[in-house]
């Protein structure tokens, strides 16, 4: 029960006192220039180390580690699978072919062209959570939905990732994306204790940005064997790994204006007061008014970034313990303790956040991500910079 509760909120119930929460909130909500506990600017990310193609047994893999020791490893595996139309779908075109089979033969069923979202499978393992707990499922659905949802209409990535998985009408690739989160062990422990620590410790911050960035890198480095067969015959592949093609094709330096299609990235954005803050750590997220996960990708046909999905996340500040103003504190002289909680806000006294967010705040958060020269571009450029092989 308690585990379930923690799982569904943005992370766990914060372990900060009301006074600490109030101090943190005040410094983060300073107009124009918030003061973050670690001195970062509002749009600055935590330093991280990244490497790709670390697992030889996968089609693509990546590892990202934060300075606090939290690490995520992602492995992408691809398998060839026979395409079956799902039992609950009825392609009217295939039925119609009974009538006028011949002149319809040229048309391909739409399912065969565009691929299915189910072909991308994602599983996330976070220590301390069962795989059917709310948090891993929520994170997995969130990342998968932007991954399969990114639809492009031109060139070789028409139909997005799903279409890329189509080999021919009868065969397709199935992509397994497996994400593992590793947590730091900051105490010297014996081997038996390690098991316990891994099971008991919770993530140090909401793991979404870490998982998303790592998945992005892993997909960037994913290669599929080169197809040697043509048309509708059973597929066979070039067994030379050097000839394998990237799942997301590399940009050709010759064509200047060409923007390569890239996997989406999900960013965690919080609003505190009037400020919009990126990559919050655990303490910052615990005082946030609102938490949004915004998935973006580079648009294929224009410079601008494209919005793929937004999800609001339950801010843990709603679960915090309120502070008690001096006027109600029984241990203060002359104050009468009241049973009824006070209704008014007292400055400097922490109150759990309640209510939602204004639309203007949502718009501002999206704008900070998507805007020209905004955080989204910065992040995508930074990820490009990671050496892939």
């Amino acid at each position: 029960m308690s585990n379930q509760r923690q799982a569904s909120s943005a992370s766990q119930v914060p372990h900060l006192s009301p006074a600490e929460l109030s101090y943190l909130y005040t410094s983060l909500s300073l107009p124009k220039n918030p003061i973050r506990p670690d001195g970062r600017s509002p749009t600055q990310f935590r330093p991280l180390s990244a490497e790709t193609t670390i697992l030889p047994g996968t089609n693509g893999s990546a590892r990202i580690g934060f300075a606090d020791g939290t690490q995520a490893i992602v492995g992408v595996k691809a398998e060839v699978e026979k395409t079956v139309l799902a039992a609950d779908t009825l392609d009217s075109r295939s039925l119609a072919q009974h009538g006028d089979a011949l002149n319809r033969e040229g048309e391909e069923g739409s399912a065969a062209v565009s691929g299915q979202g189910e072909w991308v499978q994602m599983s996330i393992e976070i220590p301390g959570y069962r795989d059917d707990d709310a948090l891993p499922i929520f994170l997995g659905e969130m990342m998968r939905e932007s991954l399969v949802g990114s639809v492009e209409h031109k060139d070789e990535m028409a139909g997005g990732l799903k279409a890329r998985l189509v080999i021919n009408k009868r065969w397709h690739w199935r992509l397994y994306i497996d994400v593992s989160l590793f947590l730091p062990l900051d105490l010297p422990v014996s081997a038996t204790d390690i098991m316990q620590v891994l099971l008991l410790s919770q993530p140090l911050s909401y793991p979404l940005p870490l998982l998303s960035l790592t998945t992005h890198l892993a997909l960037l480095s994913t290669k599929l064997p080169k197809l040697k067969s043509t048309g509708e015959e059973d597929p066979f592949f070039d067994d030379d790994w050097a000839a394998a093609e990237y799942l997301y094709p590399r940009s050709k330096p010759s064509s200047g204006a060409f923007h390569p299609v890239r996997p989406p990235v999900t960013l965690l954005v919080v609003s505190v007061g009037e400020n919009v803050i990126f990559d919050p750590n655990r303490e910052e997220i615990s005082v946030a008014d609102a938490v949004l996960a915004i998935s973006i990708t580079r648009s294929h046909d224009s410079e601008a970034l494209k919005l793929l999905s937004i999800r609001s996340i339950d801010p843990p500040s709603r679960l915090t313990q309120p502070g008690i103003p001096n006027s109600e504190n029984a241990s203060m002289l002359g104050a009468a303790p009241t049973e009824n909680p006070s209704q008014e806000e007292v400055t400097g006294v922490w109150r759990p956040r309640r209510g939602g967010i204004k639309r203007s705040v949502v718009a501002r958060m999206i704008k900070t991500v998507l805007g020209k020269g905004g955080v989204g571009e910065e992040v995508l450029e930074g990820l490009e910079g990671v050496e892939v092989q």
């Binding site: 049973e339 009824n340 909680p341 209704q343 008014e344």
Partner: protein, 283 residues
């Protein structure tokens, strides 16, 4: 046929595109929908509020249970009749607005004379047990140092016992008590009720060191107690150290309902045997 069910829809939904007004106040709707509210403007209060409805400015009223404050206006936070408790000099300079959780005929009177009983009765924010609230509880376990009870009903001082309808327990008190005192009727609802402890030193006010828990309570007894502490994560703490607190209903070993004969004994009317209890003074 489900089609038939849709007999009372909102007649017409407005075309929201043309509408510039971002803050459509639901008060306007209540002119049509709410037969009980005669006036819904700022000057006078609505008789019935629904959550989120704006009731009055904080400058004129102070906020009571069932309401919350937002931007120096009092808004309703539960659905129910709006009650104004008159101002009391010294303690409360402004009249208190509250939304009643319990619907009684008295609350439906406009501008009810809250002053008449306002002094002795303290409106509550929730239906949970609170410090100093009287509860009826059933003993579930008797140990050497403490007795575990599960709270059946929180007695509301403001209401008459007969009309008491709390949100936590919609059943009436009489039916709860009769079924609870029946030993065969111990259904699995105990985890749905709040648990409480009566510690050995809280059983009675005198001769505290001679208390033997087995001679005070038995499993299945109905106890009237007063909450002294909200306790830890799982238990409230209850005291019976007053004359009017203690066992109010109990069955004997033979299974018959007993009647009290003294402050520490109850007697079976059939077999005539007495059993020791911490007995509450009968009213």
């Amino acid at each position: 046929m489900p089609d038939k069910l849709i007999t009372e829809p909102v007649s017409k939904l407005p075309d929201f595109f043309g509408e510039q007004n971002r803050c459509l106040c639901n008060k306007e709707l209540y002119h049509f929908f709410n037969p009980f509210s005669l006036y819904c403007n700022m000057a006078s209060l609505p008789q019935i509020a629904i959550p989120g409805q704006r009731l009055g400015p904080l400058s004129k009223y102070s906020a009571g249970p069932g309401t919350h404050v937002q931007d120096s206006f009092i808004h309703a936070s539960i659905a129910g009749p709006v009650v104004t408790d008159a101002a009391q000099p010294k303690i409360q300079p402004k009249p208190t607005l509250r939304v009643s959780r319990v619907i009684s005929a008295q609350d439906l009177q406009p501008q009810n004379a809250g002053a008449s009983d306002g002094a002795k009765f303290k409106p509550r924010y929730n239906t949970l047990p609170a410090v100093e609230s009287n509860v009826l509880a059933r003993v579930t376990r008797v140990q050497k140092r403490q007795a575990t009870v599960s709270i059946l009903v929180v007695l509301d001082e403001s209401e008459h016992l007969t009309s008491s309808q709390t949100a936590s327990d919609n059943d009436n008190v009489a039916s709860i008590l009769t079924s609870a005192a029946n030993p065969e009727n111990h259904s699995g609802t105990d985890e749905l009720r709040f648990q409480a402890l009566i510690r050995k030193e809280d059983v009675r006010a005198v001769e505290k060191d001679r208390v033997v828990m087995d001679e005070m309570f038995r499993v299945g007894d109905i106890v009237r107690g007063s909450v002294i502490s909200l306790g830890d994560q799982s238990f409230y703490y209850i005291t019976t150290a007053r004359n009017d607190l203690g066992v109010v209903m109990a069955r004997s070993e033979a299974g018959n309902m007993m009647f009290p004969i003294s402050w520490k004994e109850m007697r079976d009317p059939v077999t005539g045997t007495g059993e020791p209890r911490k007995v509450a003074r009968p009213f």
